[in-house]
C-alpha cells in the first residue's frame, strides 16, 4: 500500500534523530499539546526577539515517528521567520494536510517544501493525521501565547 510514502527515509531519519529536541533557554512563549486518545504530547518553546522573529524554537515530547519528524522539520523551518510568516506557514501546512495537494506559501524554498511534503503521506491514514499536526497546532497556541493546552481533537 502506501507505507513507503508514509515512512519515507527523511521521516524515519528525523523521527530517529529529531532536531531541536531540547528546551530553549529564556524562551518567551511556550505551549503544551497533547493527543488524549494516544497520549502523545509535545511542549513547544519559542523565543521571539524584539523584531518578533523566531530567534530559537525547540520542543520536548514524545510520540511516533510521524509526530517527532513533524516537530523536527517544523522547528527547523520556522527558525528565523517573523511571527506573521510563521502563521502563514502553519496555515499552509495544515491546509495541505487537510485538503490541498500542494503547499502554496512563498516563504519556503523548494527544498523546504519538498521536506514538508514528505509528511503528506499521512493523508491516507486518517488516524495518523493528528500525529503530523499536533506540533503545528501547539506552535499556534504558543504564538498566541495561549494558556490553553492545544489538542488535536476537533
Amino acid at each position: 500500500m502506501n507505507l513507503k510514502e508514509l515512512y519515507q527515509e527523511i521521516i524515519l531519519e528525523h523521527g530517529k534523530n529529531p532536531r531541536n529536541l531540547r528546551k530553549t533557554d529564556n524562551f518567551t512563549r511556550d505551549a503544551k499539546g497533547n493527543n488524549p486518545l494516544c497520549g502523545d504530547n509535545v511542549h513547544i518553546y519559542l523565543k521571539l526577539n524584539e523584531n518578533n522573529k523566531v530567534e530559537d524554537i525547540s520542543f520536548e515530547g514524545n510520540g511516533c515517528a510521524i509526530s517527532m519528524a513533524s516537530a523536527s522539520i517544523m522547528t527547523d523551518l520556522v527558525r528565523g521567520k517573523e511571527e506573521k510568516e510563521v502563521k502563514e506557514i502553519v496555515t499552509d501546512f495544515l491546509d495541505m494536510i487537510k485538503e490541498k495537494d500542494e503547499l502554496s506559501t512563498q516563504l519556503l524554498n523548494e527544498d523546504e517544501k519538498t521536506k514538508l511534503m514528505c509528511l503528506s503521506g499521512v493523508k491516507q491514514y486518517p488516524m495518523r493525521v493528528k500525529c503530523a499536526t499536533l506540533s503545528w497546532h501547539t506552535l499556534t497556541s504558543a504564538m498566541n501565547n495561549s494558556q490553553e493546552i492545544a489538542s488535536t481533537e476537533d
Partner: protein
C-alpha cells in the same frame, strides 16, 4: 417514498402477531424500525465491527468515521450550529440526568427553584427531585389547563427570582399538547434562565431547528425516532458543554490522567465516557436518513390527518372520553371508557392485534391532576393508516360488548 407505502419499509408488519395483522399504536412508547436501520446494524456487526476512537487499525478508523458521521447527520437534522453540540447518550432519560446532575452541581443551591410542568414524564422530574434532596432546591410545577396544555402565560406566572432552569416537554406523551417552546425560551432568556426541552416526543414528529428554538438543552431518544434501542442524543449549546463539569468518568473522556489529578478531554469526548453504543450510533444515521427521505413536513401532515381522523371517529364513539383538547396537538390520543379500566381495554384490544398502552405513561403527576390513575393511549407513527384507526375503533366497540356497555 409514498407515505401510504411506508409500512412496507418496516419488516415487523410482514408477519402476523397472534394471527392478526399488527395494528401498532404504541409509537410514543417506542417506534418500530425500518429495514434500513435493521440491515445497517446487521452489516456493521457482520463486516465492519470495531470499537471507535481507540485503535488505529483499519476497522477502527472506519468505525470512528461512521460514528462521527452520525453526529454530523444529527447536527444537520436538528440544525445545531456545531457538531460538538451533539452528545450521544443511552437515551433521553440519561440525557436529562446528565444535565440535571452537571447543571445542578454547578448552579443550584439551597432555595433555588427548578420549574417543570405537570405534563412532565418522570424522566424530566425524578432527576430534578434528586437535587431537591441533595441540594435542598425546590421544584415548581407549571399547571396544565383544561385542554391538557401548559401555556406560556402559566410558565411566566411561575417564574420567580429563584428560578434557575425551566424544564418542559416539547410534546406531551399523554395529551399530545405541543408546547410553545420558542416563546417559552425567548421569555426565559429575557430573564436569564436556561431551558431544557424533553424532546422525546417532539423529535420523531416535529421539524426541529435548535437555532430557531434557541433552547439550551434538548433531549432525544433514538428508539422513538425509528432508531435502535440504547441510543439517545443530548443537544446542548456549546457554551454549556464547555462550562459544565463532566457527568460520567472513564476511558475516552480524559485529556491527561495523573495520580494527583485529571484533566478532561475536549468536546465531544468530555461527555462520552467509556465505550459508547457504537453500532447503535452508526445505525441511527439510517434513521435520520429515513426521516429525511420522507421529509418531516410529510410526516407531520400524515400524522395530523390520522389524528384528525381518529379524534373525529373516537369522538363520535359513545363513552369514549378523550383526555385533553390542545389547540396544537401531536399524534397521541389518551382516552378512557366509562366503566372499563384502561388495562382491560389494552388486553382486549391486544386480542385483535391492536397494540396500545395503558397506565400512567410515566406521568403520575398529570394523572393525579386528571383524577385518573390510568388512561389508555393510542399513539401514531409514520407507518399508521386510517385502517389502523378503524380497527382501533372496532376493537373499542368489542371492549364495550364484553363489558356489556352500549
Amino acid at each position: 417514498m409514498h407515505i401510504g407505502k411506508i409500512k412496507k419499509e418496516f419488516p415487523i408488519f410482514d408477519n402476523k402477531v397472534q394471527n392478526n395483522d399488527l395494528v401498532y399504536l404504541d409509537s410514543a412508547n417506542s417506534s418500530q424500525k425500518p429495514r434500513i436501520v435493521i440491515d445497517r446494524i446487521y452489516d456493521f456487526y457482520s463486516k465492519e465491527f470495531s470499537n471507535v476512537g481507540r485503535s488505529v487499525h483499519y476497522l477502527a478508523v472506519a468505525a470512528t468515521n461512521l460514528y462521527e458521521q452520525t453526529r454530523t447527520s444529527v447536527q444537520k437534522y436538528i440544525n445545531a450550529s456545531d457538531k460538538n453540540e451533539i452528545v450521544f447518550t443511552k437515551g433521553a432519560t440519561e440525557a436529562i440526568n446528565l444535565v440535571a446532575n452537571t447543571f445542578g452541581q454547578k448552579y443550584l443551591d439551597e432555595g433555588d427553584e427548578v420549574l417543570i410542568t405537570e405534563l412532565e414524564h418522570h424522566s424530566n422530574y425524578v432527576p430534578w427531585h434528586f437535587l431537591r434532596k441533595s441540594k435542598k432546591i425546590n421544584i415548581e410545577f407549571a399547571e396544565v389547563n383544561d385542554q391538557g396544555e401548559v401555556t406560556l402565560e402559566e410558565i411566566k406566572k411561575k417564574i420567580t427570582d429563584r428560578t434557575k432552569i425551566i424544564c418542559v416537554t416539547h410534546l406531551s406523551n399523554v395529551t399530545g399538547a405541543i408546547l410553545p417552546i420558542k416563546e417559552i425560551v425567548s421569555f426565559a432568556h429575557s430573564k436569564g434562565i436556561p431551558v431544557l426541552v424533553d424532546g422525546c416526543q417532539g423529535a420523531p414528529h416535529l421539524k426541529l431547528d435548535m437555532q430557531d428554538l434557541d433552547c439550551d438543552f434538548y433531549a432525544i431518544s433514538g428508539h422513538k425516532m425509528y432508531g435502535p434501542t440504547g441510543i439517545g442524543v443530548l443537544y446542548a449549546k456549546k457554551k454549556w458543554l464547555e462550562d459544565l463539569p463532566p457527568y460520567q468518568g472513564g476511558g475516552g473522556m480524559i485529556r491527561e490522567v495523573k495520580k494527583k489529578g485529571i484533566s478532561y478531554g475536549e468536546l465531544p469526548n468530555k461527555y462520552e465516557a467509556g465505550t459508547m453504543a457504537t453500532a447503535q450510533v452508526i445505525a441511527f444515521n439510517e434513521s435520520i436518513k429515513f426521516l429525511e427521505k420522507i421529509g418531516i413536513e410529510n410526516i407531520e401532515k400524515h400524522e395530523r390527518e390520522l389524528l384528525d381522523y381518529a379524534v373525529d371517529l373516537l369522538g363520535k364513539n359513545n363513552s369514549v372520553n378523550i383526555i385533553g383538547n390542545p389547540k396544537n396537538k401531536g399524534g397521541v390520543i389518551s382516552f378512557t371508557i366509562e366503566g372499563i379500566h384502561p388495562h382491560d381495554i389494552a388486553t382486549i384490544l391486544d386480542e385483535d392485534g391492536v397494540a396500545i398502552r395503558a397506565g400512567h405513561h410515566c406521568c403520575q403527576i398529570l394523572h393525579e391532576k386528571l383524577g385518573l390513575p390510568a388512561t389508555a393511549r393510542a399513539s401514531f407513527g409514520v407507518y399508521n393508516t386510517k385502517d389502523d384507526i378503524d380497527q382501533l375503533n372496532k376493537s373499542i366497540n368489542n371492549c364495550k360488548k364484553i363489558f356489556n356497555l352500549k
